[in-house]
Amino acid sequence: MLALDQVSLDIEEGEFFGLLGPNGAGKTTMITILAGLAKATSGRVSVLGSDVQVDFAQARRKLGVVPQELVFDPFFNVREALRFQSGYFGVRHNDAWIDELLDSLGLTDKANANMRMLSGGMKRRVLVGLALVHKPPVIVLDEPTAGVDVELRQTLWAFIAKLNKQGSTVLLTTHYLEEAEALCGRIAMLKTGRVVALDSTSALLKAASGNVLRFKIDGDLPVALLPGARVTGRVVQFPAQDALAVERYLAAVREAGLVAHDIEIRRADLEDVFLDVMNRHASPAVQKVAP
């Protein structure tokens, strides 16, 4: 099976870069190769000039990776885990930075708690701390906010944004597209192992189909309207270029004997762009199944 195919991209120093794509698109595989956890069958990857295979020690010093899985070592407490990780990188006398990390991640009062005793969100914070303990210039976050509460999301993004402002390069994968839209300067979209879109976030948004008509209905949408519609429970959304399109959709709804509530017209967001890109690059296998 080919997990990644002809992927070629450059992330600039100091960028906040987003890697988006549906489950199984190859985002984690890409990070795994970048981090040296897996070897690519062909091709090469380098981090700030260090090849991840040939010059692995240098490449790994430059990388701080927050893994997707919530893993931990049950033998030790938070501070010990951070000290060990720091030591593996040969960073000595690192307690000042460790204290700062604990503080920035809201972990100060958990510093002496065993890893087993922490909640999922707290473990996630420790993962971020472990990735940053050797002050890497490149930070890789693989779905860091999956299953994480609002408070931590905000703390985390404030901290990462600060590090980015200070010059760190950030590579982020997430399924929360509003986060990507708010944070990332440039975005690559991946589908079945290929890059299907690569541009600055603002250019991607500009290229989107303008506006979106959004309303709620009680009842089923007329079959004729289904293609092109995005239905989430009672909420229906259509890409709408102009007033004519809006009128046409609403008229069709009225003719079906339905009433549209809570009507609004909004600018297309990254989620619309994402869905649009994914539909345009529908894989052959999926097309075959469709009636």
């Binding site: 897996a38 070897k39 893994p67 899985e69 931990f72 070592d73 030790f76 030591g87 593996y88």
Partner: protein
């Protein structure tokens, strides 16, 4: 502290945190062997003319415990990290395969020596022990522990589940240590089993180690040195190769 030293320290802390289980337990087990076998066989078995059976048992039990615990340390640490998934923290570091080897095997040797010394210290109360050739004692203890630490590394890397590691322990390590002449001299065995014993590297570890205490052994300590030394090199080379290629840890 450099990177590998920190990993060595962490590996030592890992077993030291549960010292009752990792050191106390094996010492108690060895004591039970000594009490039961010593008591039951003291007046029936005489392996060497000038050595009582209980005294004969002491070095063998110390070495057996040393070997089993050196194996247990690296293998259980690796399999636990693999199953828990926290091995990723180590995989993300710049540590090379040589660093991994030195740290994991070093911690195994350390635990093996601690347990072996503990068993010896406690059991020495039960019988008079001599130290005819202390250099041989140290050489066989260190080589045996290194060999088993490296073997544990291989077992830990190869296994994906705890059951696989348990199979390694129950079907390879336990039978080979038990059939190595800890409880008897192989000269008391029928010719066929004597021949079989000569193919068991554990036999040479125990025999050479015991030579250091009593100055007598089933085979020459130089032969034991050769067999144990070359086995250690082969096993270490295999462990290093697996680490270098990322066998079952990097894909």
């Amino acid at each position: 502290m450099t990177g590998w030293q920190m990993l060595f320290y962490k590996e030592v802390m890992r077993f030291w945190r549960v010292v009752g289980q990792t050191v106390g337990g094996p010492i108690l087990t060895a004591m039970l062997y000594l009490l039961i076998f010593g008591h039951a066989l003291e007046s029936h078995v005489k392996v060497y003319e000038q050595v009582s059976y209980t005294a004969f048992l002491v070095p063998g039990l110390a070495m057996m415990s040393l070997l089993q615990n050196a194996f247990a340390n690296s293998s259980s640490s690796l399999i636990a990290s693999k199953v828990m998934g926290n091995l990723v923290f180590l995989l993300l570091t710049p540590l090379s395969y040589l660093h991994w080897f030195v740290a994991y095997v070093g911690a195994s040797v350390f635990r093996g020596l601690v347990v072996g010394l503990g068993v010896f210290a406690v059991s020495a109360f039960f019988a008079p022990i001599s130290f005819v050739a202390p250099v041989w004692i140290a050489v066989f203890a260190l080589m045996g522990a290194t060999l088993m630490g490296a073997l544990g590394l291989i077992a830990g890397l190869h296994s994906e589940k705890f059951e696989q590691l348990a199979a390694f322990q129950n079907f390879i390590v336990m039978p080979m240590t038990f059939l190595s002449g800890v409880f008897y001299s192989i000269h008391s065995l029928p010719p066929f089993w004597q021949t079989v014993s000569h193919f068991n590297p554990f036999f040479y570890m125990i025999d050479g180690f015991r030579y250091g205490f009593f100055g007598i052994s089933d085979v020459s300590p130089w032969l034991s040195l050769g067999v144990v030394g070359s086995t250690m090199l082969v096993v270490s080379a295999l462990a290093l190769t697996l680490l270098r290629t990322g066998y079952h840890i990097r894909y």
